[in-house]
Amino acid sequence: MQKFPLEGIRVVDFTQVRMGPQLTQWLGVMGAEVIKIETNLRQEISQMVGTPGDQRLGESNRAGYFATLNYSKKSITLNMKDPKAAEIVKKLVKLSDIVAENFGKPIMERWGLGYAELKKLKPDIIVYAGSGWGRTGPYTERPAYAPIVDAFSGLTFANGYFGGEPKGVGVRGWTDSITAHYGVFAILAALYHRSMTGEGQYIDLSMAESSLAFAPEQILNYTMNEKLLGRIGNQDDFMAPHGCYRCRGEDKWVAIAVSSDEEWNAFCNAIGNPEWTRKEEFSDAMSRWKNQRELDSLIREWTINYDHYEVMMILQKAGVMAGASLNIEDVVNDTHLKERGFLVDIEYPNMTKLRRPSLPWRLSDTPKGNYQYAPSLGEHNDYVFGELLGLSKNDINSLEKAKVIY
């Protein structure tokens, strides 16, 4: 009985670094067999960053960054510089459903593995081509770095404190991640379409356009009214209080938002109805918004006496939107996330297990996910070349000697 939705789906994965691998990882966790094409000739940057458990940095494919984004995949080595490698890939494509790459340039085409070629081999193949700026248009030759893409897309312009300078958005790989997730959705839609019609297709997905995808409010403000929205930090267009307040302890904060008179009254009650809450300048939503600077400093005088989780619990109990502003340690130790099973332990055959966030993929009648350890370089050469493609041990040896399987 099928456990995971994508069981039986095979992915030929040429993707590298973040934007692509995060996408193919979703496919792997949802049950697909993801075959990652790597090579001894070159290491991905992710293979050189981070030290997991008891491994030494540089022990191939075990670096933390790589492990984080490449679990639930298989690894083979192919030296694509040799034309024989492309011939092997073609054999593999005939047995596969999806080919994924994010070279950004026509490198697959150069290898004779462009969509037109692949379609001849397998007419219903789904090809995913991620890139920084799109596979068409005037920027195809430009390298894509997230800070540059975000500067282009208006994301950086919009990020920063109220009245402050534009700042690059945090979370390493934010835009890469967003791109990856649009890619997962597009691929699932293409898979569904294929199941109904037998047709595959080519998916061109751009990081720059993904970076823009959460900004329709800013875009429409301009296209409708030629207005440019500046940076407002933790503030809001109409809600007040709406911000982040200092709590007891080192660098501890709590976020609070009040969106109605009802919530305001609840808030005032919860903090003990101090005299200042009855001032005229806080008596209605519009006035609170106008006077939020004063309001914020008065609220801070209350929150500073409490632990950030305490404030959250007091206010949530009263029906007020509040949340402790969590740092990384808080996220790992949060009671709610623990109960939800947010972290997953991925077992390794000869290394301490890796603890990572699980995918936010919770289906009621499906197990948590196909979480498998990140492969060593070429770990699945025998399986793929021998079992799947039927090459003999001799053939494989020759190809290894000739540095085709390399």
């Binding site: 700042k167 690059g168 019609t197 296209t223 740092n327 990384i328 996330l337």
Partner: protein, 405 residues
Amino acid sequence: MNSEALSGLKVLEYSEFISGPHCGKLLADLGAKVIKVEPPGLGDKARRWGPFPHDEPHPEKSGLFLYLNTNKLGVTLNLESVAGIKIFRELAKQVDIVVENNPPREMERLGLDYENLHKLNPKLVVTSITPFGQTGPYRDYKSCDLISAHMSGETYTNPEAGVDDTESQPPLKPPSHANDFLGGLMGAICTMSAVIARQVTGLGQHVDLSQQEAMAYLLCREIGEYNDSGGPFYRGKNRKKALPSEYPCKNGYISLSMLTDAFWASLSDMMGNPDWAKSESCRTTVLRNKNWGTIEPKIKEWTKEHTVEEIVQLAQAKRVPCSPIHSMKEVVNSELLAARDYFVEFEHREAGRIKYPGAPYKLSGTPWRVTCPAPLLGEHNDEVFSQMLGYTRQDLVRMRQAGVI
């Protein structure tokens, strides 16, 4: 030949504002038939949000609503009425997917929780998008984008380059409603996976999407590092141990990449090879990151003396990755996005002709498109209630009089 990827799929959307509607939009824009249920009278909260043409609020002209609800059919239903619930249930029997972003208690109160919907229609995929999920101690917490963002850990890492003063500068929420949009996108992924699962099992499932988890998951690298080596992490300046990318110019801001030694050499060239750039403290990436405190102000001194355009020209000549920090004005007028046909213009009966963003993916066989603009409130009551449920015009009049629709 089907030229829409998700044609044939029917969705009942009972959600408002951003997260649920974004999920519904992703499905509708690729051809799913999405019936959006709104309360009669005020309708979806997004109708009051704007932006509005000429800043004149109007429930049929809110930019956020118009964008998020393209390609959907719009009906009104009062779910506080027994008749309204009955109609909802009748619709739920006929669709493949229900998308909702209501508090878990709310759906229970209405008798529209997963258990009940599953009994009604075992093939139903029910996608519930909430700030904290359907279970756990925070399940009933009230939230908005600010709260969700801060509770995911994301704000701790924003801005990327760190803050000058951790006492006066709190963790920072990213622009607009990123957490809500993300919830919708993740919801759509999970929905499609359940639809695909159903092709084998014949049964629906409950998709439990927690926005907190969705965003916290994006911190996989930071959390990975914490678990592997314990951090430390801090918010102060240079938390990333790298030179920031953003610099002020005479007439705006620019983003310059200084990731590699090659880029640094080129940047020095651009700056006229000043002595300080050739010093030991600038020689390697590691050294530059270590000494960013003295280096960053010097770079700023130089950038402030030039316009954005001057620096872009110099950078392009030296092949240093760079971009002006665009406002939406430059974005909307960008030659790249025009060449990519990224923006689309179409008419809406009330709001008129407006230019909207398109989609970040281009599907060769089943392209993204807008076949109809966002619905007016209750615009498709007739079509949906008569055609799908067999109600007559008189029935609908009575229902309207009784406040059911």
